[in-house]
Every structure is written in structure tokens, then in C-alpha cells.
């Protein structure tokens, strides 16, 4: 009787350990997949934002107008939660950078109107 109980307890312990290890591994894989999915979503959204800003700049050549068209107040920083679009005017044109928090996700440069 005692021997049977011991065997049962040992088997239960092994089963619990196997289940716990499998659950922990699966959880880490799920978390990694979640991070990748979020990164993909950020990249997709930020590249579209930057692309749109650059296309706007190509069309009008004025950074303030781009800011207003993209939903800002005419300034360089445009808050599009959870992203921030930063427009920088330089000698040759404009550089648009999209951030999530402090991390830059995507950036591209645009040249203004030819002439």
C-alpha cells in the first residue's frame, strides 16, 4: 500500500514538472511572438506615417503644411499616439522620423520641389 502511494506521488511530481516546463517554454515562445507582432505593427504604422509625410512634403514643400496635414499644429512634433512623428527641416529638404516612446522605428528623407 505504501509502495503504491510512493509510486503515485513520484509520477504526479514528474507529470507536474513536465507540464510546468512545457508551460514555461510555451509562455516564452508566446511572449517572443507577441514582441515580434508588436514590432511588425510598429514598423508598418511608422513606415506608412513617414511615407505619407514625405509624399506631403513632395507635394507642397512646406514643413508647416505637412505638419497640419498629418494632424499636427504646424510644429515639428506631431503626436499620433502611440507614435510621435518628428519632422526636421534641413538644407536640402525634410527628414521625417517616427518614434514609439524614445525608440526610433523608421525614418526617411525627402527632397523638396525641384528648381
Amino acid at each position: 500500500m505504501r509502495r503504491g502511494l510512493d509510486t503515485f506521488l513520484t509520477e504526479s511530481l514528474i507529470m507536474t514538472a513536465v507540464l510546468a516546463i512545457a508551460a514555461a517554454l510555451s509562455l516564452s515562445v508566446f511572449m517572443k511572438a507577441g514582441q515580434m507582432r508588436r514590432r511588425a505593427e510598429d514598423l508598418s504604422a511608422c513606415s506608412s506615417l513617414v511615407y505619407s509625410a514625405v509624399q506631403c512634403y513632395d507635394a507642397c514643400g512646406d514643413i508647416k503644411q505637412v505638419s497640419r496635414l498629418m494632424g499636427g499644429d504646424g510644429g515639428e512634433n506631431i503626436e499620433l499616439a502611440p507614435y510621435t512623428l518628428l519632422l526636421k527641416q534641413d538644407g536640402e529638404g525634410m527628414t521625417a522620423e517616427a518614434y514609439r516612446g524614445d525608440e526610433m522605428v523608421f525614418s526617411a528623407a525627402a527632397k523638396g520641389v525641384i528648381g
Partner: protein, 135 residues
């Protein structure tokens, strides 16, 4: 009194089944997320290349316009800037990848320009699938 006892081994089978389900689901989730990320990266890289191509063409066109405004002929201005003259417009090209070229055409008199992507790769039709073509 009759006791309800589970058949021997059913718990082990259930644990094995649960582990298998967890493994398969997590792997499916991982592969789907990975493909989603590679698609987003490829799309972002493509957007960047197109914008860079456009940027480079505009740079060439800008140089050509500056030369044209200095008194160069349209042909000379376009060729000096790395483009060509087709008789009506200056044409500037910039390779984006092995299959695509960004083209910018510019009319120096009106200053009107147009940009488009030209595909230069060779298209090989897939003849492996038998499709009824009406004959």
C-alpha cells in the same frame, strides 16, 4: 459503495496531450508572427528604397535645372547631371533594385516633373500549370 477510479494512465495521456497542444500552438503563433515581421520589414525597406530613389532623381534634376538656368542647353544640362535628353524632357534614372528603376522626367521650360517606377526585370511566364485557354 462503488468508487469512481480513473482508468490507469489517463492522467499521463492528458498531460502529454496538453504539452503537445501547447507546443503546436506556440510554434504556430511564432511562425505567424515571424512572417508578419518579415513582411513588415520588407515593406518598410521597399518604401525607403523608393523614397531614396526619388530623392536621388530629384537631386540630379536639381543639378540639371541649375545648369540649365546658368545657360546650358537642356541636353548638356541633363547629360552633365547624369541624365539624358529625349528631345522634349530631361530624363533621370536611379536603380532601386535589380528589377526596378525610379525615373524622373522634367520639362525644363515649364519645370513640370513626373516620377514613376519602371520595371526592367524579365518576366518569365509560369507554364507549369495546365489552364484551359478556350481551345
Amino acid at each position: 459503495m462503488k468508487r469512481n477510479i480513473l482508468p490507469p494512465g489517463i492522467i499521463s495521456l492528458a498531460v502529454v496531450f496538453v504539452c503537445l497542444c501547447l507546443t503546436v500552438l506556440s510554434l504556430l503563433c511564432y511562425t505567424s508572427a515571424k512572417s508578419e515581421l518579415s513582411l513588415a520589414e520588407a515593406s518598410a525597406a521597399n518604401k525607403k528604397k523608393v523614397l531614396e530613389g526619388s530623392f536621388m532623381c530629384r537631386g540630379l534634376a536639381d543639378t540639371a535645372m541649375a545648369l540649365y538656368n546658368e545657360g546650358y542647353s537642356p541636353e548638356q544640362a541633363a547629360e552633365s547631371a547624369g541624365g539624358s535628353w529625349n528631345g522634349e524632357e530631361m530624363v533621370f534614372e536611379w536603380g532601386i533594385d535589380e528589377n526596378r528603376v525610379m525615373v524622373l522626367t522634367l520639362d525644363p521650360q515649364s519645370g513640370k516633373s513626373a516620377e514613376y517606377l519602371r520595371y526592367v526585370g524579365t518576366w518569365t511566364p509560369d507554364t507549369g500549370l495546365e489552364v484551359w485557354d478556350g481551345q
